[in-house]
Symmetry: D2
Subunit: 255 residues, 4 copies
């Protein structure tokens, strides 16, 4: 194959899947990975192919030893060198008081949000640097820039993510790899994540109140446009960090 490859980890029906579609539309072979819902994965791959794009889909448990490393090796061997990685694994588990937060929940947040990012980076950035460049886009959250009550697991995991991104950037930007930390500071209109967390009914209500009509939820197709832009910034003018939120939402610093 000759298309450049865009690997999306966490390719659900929200930001991940839509970024995959955007890159496929732009001529990339989109490789979609997600933990579960094989049917949903095939549907996304199918939708891309119907539009005339190139895509592959794989189930991937990012917390499994070697799962990430083996998947990346296989993609590079069978599809082609990865040009763009979109790391889109979240670790939001809803609000829990400190005593209700188990060691297991705390550790799982870290495994998904921080360790998986580290392992992905180590599996692709050195090769990108040797090939002369690449792009590593990391979806992040409000919890990366401020802790909040009930967010013990999520904030610790995402705070780690942000500092890790700065650390990766310090080592790899001078070697031509563009690392970006994208602070999604609002709720995304995404059935696979927000939808599951809220439950069908509350999600439907929220969409009714704040959704498509009034643009009070982040529309994933629109978020994808900014990911596309970031991946195509000239190396003389790279962004490392930016925020994204609906116009009607208060930024995190205003509460």
């Amino acid at each position: 194959m000759t298309e450049p490859v865009c690997l999306v980890l966490g390719a659900g029906a929200g930001v991940g899947g839509n970024v995959a579609k955007r890159f496929a539309r732009g001529g990339y072979h989109a490789v979609l990975c997600r933990r579960s819902d094989e049917q949903g994965l095939h549907r996304l791959v199918g939708e891309i192919e119907e539009e005339g794009g190139a895509a592959s889909g794989f189930l991937l448990d990012a917390t499994k030893p070697d799962g990430i490393e083996e998947r990346i090796a296989a993609v590079e061997a069978e599809i082609g060198p990865v040009d763009v990685v979109v790391f889109n694994l979240g670790a939001q588990i809803g609000d829990r008081s400190l005593v209700e937060t188990t060691d297991k929940a705390f550790e799982l947040g870290w495994r998904m949000a921080t360790l998986a990012l580290f392992r992905t980076a180590r599996a692709v950035l050195p090769a990108m640097a040797e090939r002369g460049g690449g792009t590593f886009l990391v979806t992040s959250a409000t919890a990366a820039v401020r802790g909040n009550a009930g967010q013990h697991s999520h904030a610790a995991a995402m705070g780690g993510r942000r500092m890790l991104c700065q650390s990766l950037n310090a080592e790899f930007a001078p070697r031509g790899v563009h690392v970006t930390h994208i602070v999604i500071d609002g709720m995304v209109d995404a059935p696979d994540t927000l939808g599951k967390m809220l439950g069908e009914e509350r999600f439907a209500e929220l969409r009714e109140q704040r959704g498509k009509e009034s643009d009070g939820l982040l529309v994933p197709e629109q978020v994808a446009e900014t990911y596309w832009h970031l991946a195509h910034q000239h190396r003389s003018a790279w962004t490392h960090e930016l925020d994204l939120r609906p116009f009607s939402d208060k930024p995190w610093w205003n509460g």
Copy 2:
């Protein structure tokens, strides 16, 4: 006229002029304002028109009472309602120790970087909000996020700029106006600003060392692409703050 209007304050041969060109290329009537160098201004307007774009140019002293307000009123009356403002006035005067920084230099920094921004905002944002939307892109600098020795005037002015942008955003984003604070965290390959500050010889040397070949200076044409993108983000996914720097530069937080 029927094109949307993009008003650029600080339209020299660096970021400002190139953003004007980018918006003209995208179908906007570009209105270029700068303090001095009428010849340079006409050259920029001419270059846009040669490419088939629409442009107007005006000399404007942003520190003069009512200068900004009258220019904006005239543009709205004679050319059309302003859709996009690019506020690109800088206030870098090079490093000076505290005792070498006069009241006049300190005040001038504030008049250019902070007060002029406030006056521009007050002259356009309420009208934009009433018309249902608009975009207000503010070029800023490293000095907005960290003070440094010798930067007393510049850091105070730019620190004020950043907090003012957050304050403007808090009032106007919910009313449909996109306010963005763009931290240019590096040296721009711009003869009108960096060139003048360094002098012809040192600027030529710097370009030789870090310039076009090795992309160690921000290339203004490339910076302009990000301004264009920001102005066209969907209101469900707006960026308020982002940084831009050459891949080979250390971010401000790494020194």
Copy 3:
């Protein structure tokens, strides 16, 4: 005289006056300056002297040309070299929308919060550095770290203050002068500032609800203890920035 001198600019009945008292109690000659209310000034000086402390009081308009510089020169000539400066001038004018914020209000904020700080610093820091050391404590506000609707003047002024403090620190810390930026992130139980802004009745109500009993307002005597501590940190372990708020208040980043 032989006591070290602590000069307080903005010495009302809140933080400023109480810091003056704390330093007088610790053996300093406290020099209290404030814009108006000569009677209140004399009362504070009298209270210090009754406790056996040394104090002087002066009315000082910080926005008057040379007012600050002449006062500092007179203090150094007549009382002694200044060891500690507490810069405590505020610039909060309450919330105003952008269109309601006049040029005059915007400029006044800057003159009080930013320019007066710059002028004070230039009048004392170089002399402190030559004498081998000194302390420069700057009271600041939430508006220095986040802008908010209606805070256009205040946020611009305080954002400038914060970056100026970092710039002063970069030049003078290595020369032995301790510069500290103190973010007061809450309402202070201070009749001269909060009291005046709210009016007598609302202030009395607020004190009733959140005041001394429940410690929901910053108690200025207690704030003064932290100023004292900062001024006496060993130079191997200096603080440049810290926040202060009542236990029951949300920090600025939590809204």
Copy 4:
């Protein structure tokens, strides 16, 4: 026993041990815990007792399941309710490139710096809140506020620590527990940590160059004074975050 209890986790010969001494001198029963070096632990306890203070010492492996929880339960049962916790475990392993950072090193950083903090917090904060108050002082590092090349493990762990502290503060400050995140932004003159990392010879050299004479290393006895102050701030004026560095060091934001 009737003294209030101050529990120090990470009580070596640097910050931890000296904070323990400071609190013992102020009338607390100091409980010192550290992973290894029983002899060093006994020496510290002995030094406190010789001064007339009360102290106990325990070896504690913070990465062992239930080790922290059991130690805290035993302290509360046998010595008394814990009033102050000083969490002083570090996770600095020196600079390593991404490929040289193993999963094990990355995980160990998190177990020491983030998970152990979470477990400690969960074991003491709810009880403190029920008793009406307490203090939780967390030593942190530059890596909590900016990532750097080679700091992948440390920055991820400390970034998590900082956001976790904000999250703990949001839940527990309104319930009377003072949580503070202390950014130690420089090298501490500590044989047990810096000394071991550098080796005996380089540590001796560094002390010679930057040490006691010129105060270019943080002196742990002096750092302890600020911990003491923080633990005794009145609840109307609490600090959540502050930085500490030698006067001659550049702050992290200045590189």
